[in-house]
C-alpha cells in the first residue's frame, strides 16, 4: 500500500531524495564549490516539487481549445513561478561563486576547514 502510494507520487518521492542528497552534501563536504552544488540540488528538489504539483496526468497544455471542451488543463502557475525561482537560484549561485573566488585569492584554498584553521592561526599570532 505504502509502496503503491510512493510509485504513484514518484515525482514527490524524487524531490525528497534530491533534498536529502543536497542537504548531506552541504552539511558534510568542506569544499566550498561542493557546498554550492549541494545548495543547487536542494533548490532543484523544491522546483521539482512545485512543478509536479502543477501537473495533471493526461492534462493538456493550458491553451484554450474550442474544439475540445472536455479537456483538462495542467496548472501553468507553478511552472511560471519556478522560472522566477530558477532565476533567483542562478543569481545566488553567481554571487556565491564570486565570493568563493575572492576567498580563494585570499587564502589559496577552497577547503572551508583549511580556511578556518588559517584564520585561527592568524588570530593566535
Amino acid at each position: 500500500m505504502l509502496l503503491r502510494k510512493l510509485l504513484i507520487n514518484y515525482p514527490y518521492f524524487a524531490a525528497v531524495i534530491l533534498f536529502a542528497v543536497g542537504a548531506v552534501i552541504v552539511l558534510t563536504r568542506s569544499n566550498l564549490i561542493k557546498k554550492l552544488i549541494g545548495i543547487n540540488i536542494i533548490e532543484s528538489a523544491v522546483f521539482l516539487m512545485f512543478v509536479a504539483a502543477g501537473n495533471i496526468r493526461s492534462g493538456v497544455p493550458p491553451i484554450l481549445d474550442q474544439t475540445r471542451p472536455e479537456a483538462v488543463y495542467v496548472n501553468p502557475l507553478p511552472s511560471a513561478l519556478m522560472l522566477t525561482g530558477i532565476v533567483v537560484s542562478v543569481s545566488v549561485s553567481a554571487l556565491a561563486l564570486a565570493l568563493v573566488y575572492r576567498l580563494y585569492k585570499a587564502y589559496g584554498t577552497l577547503d572551508a576547514r583549511r580556511i578556518a584553521e588559517m584564520r585561527s592561526e592568524v588570530r593566535n599570532r
Binding site: L32, I39, I42, F50, V88, L99, R119
Partner: protein
C-alpha cells in the same frame, strides 16, 4: 498628479527605491551626486511612509488594499497597507534616512574605492525597497522573491568591506540563507499545493476549512516556514551566521542589517503564521510554544555570549540575537499585549541598535580600536558619539522614557496575561544582562583616564545622522502614543484571523 501618487503610494514605496537603486550605477563617477540622491530619496520615502501611516491611522483601523496591475485579488498580487505594514514602513523610513546621512563621505575607507561606494548605495536602496515590499505584500510567492532580493543585497553589503573575513562571513551567510530560502519556498509550495492559493487571505480561508484533511502536510509546511524564515531572522539556534556577518560588515551596513533586515524576515514570519495559519491553528500545532521557548533561550544565551565578547561590534551583534529573542517571545505568546509589545519592541530595537552600530563605527573609524578594553576615556574625546551611544544603551536596557522600555513593558504585561511567569522573569533577566554588557562600555568610555592621542567626533552629516536616530529613540519613549496605537491595532488584526 498628486492623486495619482496618493493612489499608488503602497506600490511606490516599494518600487521607487528599487528603480533609483538601479539608476545609481550609471553615475559611478559622481559619488557626491549619488550620496545627495540617496539622502533625498530616503527623505522623500520618510514623507511617503509618514503620509501612508497617517492615512491608515486616521482611518481608524482601515487597511488600504492595492491590486498590482489592476488584477483583483485571487489572480493578481495584492499589496495591503494595514497597521502592521505602515508601522514597519515607518520603522524602515526612520532608520534608513539617518544611516544614509551617516554614510555620506564616510564609506570609502571601509569599502575600498569610491566607485564601490556607489555600488554599496545600489544594494542599500535595493534592500530598502525589498523590506518595504515585505511589509506591504499579501502574496506568498511575492514574499519569497522579496526575501531573496533582500538576502542578496544584505550579502553584497557584508562582502562590500575590503577584508577577507568579510568575504568569508558573507559566504557563510549566503550558504545558510539559501538553505533558508529553499525551505521557505518548499513551505510556500506545500501551502499552495493544499490550498490552491498564494494570496494570504484566500489561503487562510481555505486552510481553516481543510486543515484537518492534511495534518502531516500542515506540519511539514509550518516547520519548513518556521525554519526557513527562522534562519533568516536569527531565531535562536539558527543565529550562527549573525555575529560574523553583522560585525564584519561596514558600519552603516551593520546598522541597517541589525536594525532592519532581520525585522523584515521576522514580520514575514509573523504575517505567515498569523495571517495564513491563524492564531488557533498555530496553537494546535504548538508552533507558538516552540517560538516562545526559542525566544527565551535566545534572550539568555545571546546575552551571555554578548557578555563574553571584547570586540565592540561583535558584542552588539550578539546583543541583536538577544533582542530578537524578545520579538520572537512576544510573537509566540499569542495575545494582544504581547504582540503589541513585540511589534513596538521591533521598532524600538531598530532605532536603538542602528544608533549603537553607527556610534561603534564612528569610534572605530576615529580611534582604530575595535576592543572594548581599549576605549578608555573616549567619552570625553568624542562627546556626541558617546552621548548617543549612552541614550541607545539606556533604551535597549529598558529604562523608562526610552523606546525600549515601552516595548519591554508591554511584553512583560503580555507574558503575565498569558500566565507565563517564566517569560516575565526572562524579560527582566534579559534587561539585567543587557545592562551588564552595555554599561561597562559606557563606564570605560567615561570614567577611565583618557588616552593622550587626539580624537574627535566625526563630521557634521555623521553627527546629524546619529542625533536624529537618538532623537527618535527618545521620542518613541516619551510620546509612544500613535506608534503604540498602530502596534496595538496590528496585534488585534493579527489575532482577528482564526
Amino acid at each position: 498628479m498628486m492623486t495619482a501618487i496618493r493612489n499608488n503610494l503602497p506600490v511606490l514605496v516599494v518600487v521607487a527605491p528599487l528603480c533609483i537603486g538601479f539608476v545609481l550605477p550609471t553615475l559611478v563617477r559622481r559619488v557626491r551626486l549619488v550620496e545627495t540622491l540617496v539622502i533625498a530619496i530616503t527623505v522623500i520615502g520618510l514623507v511617503g511612509a509618514g503620509y501612508l501611516a497617517s492615512l491608515v491611522f486616521s482611518g481608524g483601523g482601515t487597511t488600504i488594499v492595492y491590486s498590482m496591475g489592476g488584477w483583483p485579488a485571487p489572480w493578481g498580487i495584492e499589496l495591503v497597507a494595514g497597521s502592521a505594514a505602515v508601522l514597519i514602513l515607518l520603522m524602515i523610513a526612520i532608520v534608513v534616512m539617518p544611516i544614509a546621512l551617516f554614510s555620506a563621505n564616510n564609506l570609502s575607507h571601509e569599502v575600498g574605492a569610491s566607485n564601490r561606494t556607489v555600488w554599496f548605495y545600489t544594494l542599500y536602496l535595493l534592500l530598502t525597497g525589498a523590506l518595504a515590499g515585505m511589509a506591504v505584500t499579501n502574496d506568498l510567492f511575492n514574499v519569497f522573491v522579496l526575501v531573496e532580493v533582500a538576502t542578496l543585497s544584505c550579502c553584497g553589503m557584508v562582502a562590500a568591506r575590503n577584508h577577507s573575513r568579510a568575504a568569508e562571513a558573507a559566504l557563510t551567510y549566503l550558504i545558510l540563507m539559501s538553505l533558508g530560502s529553499a525551505l521557505l519556498l518548499g513551505g510556500i509550495g506545500l501551502v499552495y499545493i493544499i490550498t490552491g492559493h498564494l494570496n494570504m487571505g484566500y489561503a487562510s480561508q481555505e486552510l481553516s476549512r481543510i486543515w484537518q484533511d492534511y495534518p502531516r502536510v500542515i506540519w511539514l509546511a509550518a516547520s519548513f516556514l518556521l525554519v526557513g524564515l527562522g534562519v533568516k531572522s536569527a531565531l535562536f539556534p539558527l543565529h550562527v551566521w549573525l555575529p560574523d556577518a553583522h560585525s564584519y560588515a561596514p558600519s552603516p551596513a551593520s546598522a541597517v542589517l541589525s536594525g532592519l533586515a532581520v525585522k523584515g524576515y521576522l514580520l514575514c514570519l509573523m504575517k505567515i503564521l498569523y495571517n495564513v495559519f491563524g492564531g488557533s491553528l498555530i496553537q494546535q500545532l504548538a508552533v507558538d510554544k516552540i517560538i516562545t521557548v526559542l525566544g527565551m533561550l535566545g534572550i539568555i544565551v545571546g546575552s551571555v555570549f554578548a557578555l563574553a565578547q571584547d570586540e565592540l561590534k561583535r558584542r552588539l551583534a550578539f546583543s541583536t540575537v538577544a533582542q530578537l529573542g524578545y520579538a520572537f517571545m512576544g510573537m509566540g505568546l499569542v495575545n494582544t499585549r504581547a504582540l503589541t509589545g513585540s511589534l513596538f519592541y521591533v521598532l524600538g530595537h531598530a532605532v536603538s541598535k542602528a544608533v549603537l552600530f553607527l556610534a561603534a563605527g564612528a569610534i572605530i573609524t576615529a580611534s582604530g580600536k575595535e576592543r572594548i578594553s581599549e576605549l578608555a576615556g573616549i567619552g570625553r574625546k568624542m562627546p556626541v558619539t558617546m552621548a548617543v551611544f549612552t541614550i541607545a544603551s539606556l533604551s535597549l536596557v529598558g529604562i523608562p522614557l526610552f523606546a525600549g522600555f515601552v516595548g519591554k513593558w508591554n511584553l512583560l504585561l503580555g507574558s503575565l496575561d498569558a500566565g507565563n511567569w517564566l517569560a516575565a522573569a526572562v524579560v527582566i533577566a534579559g534587561s539585567v544582562l543587557c545592562g551588564a554588557y552595555l554599561f561597562p562600555i559606557i563606564r570605560i568610555a567615561y570614567f577611565e583616564p583618557a588616552p593622550s592621542r587626539d580624537l574627535q567626533d566625526p563630521g557634521m552629516p555623521q553627527k546629524v545622522g546619529m542625533l536624529l536616530l537618538a532623537a527618535a529613540v527618545i521620542i518613541l519613549g516619551v510620546v509612544p502614543g500613535p506608534f503604540l496605537e498602530l502596534a496595538r491595532r496590528a496585534a488585534v488584526d493579527f489575532l482577528a484571523i482564526r
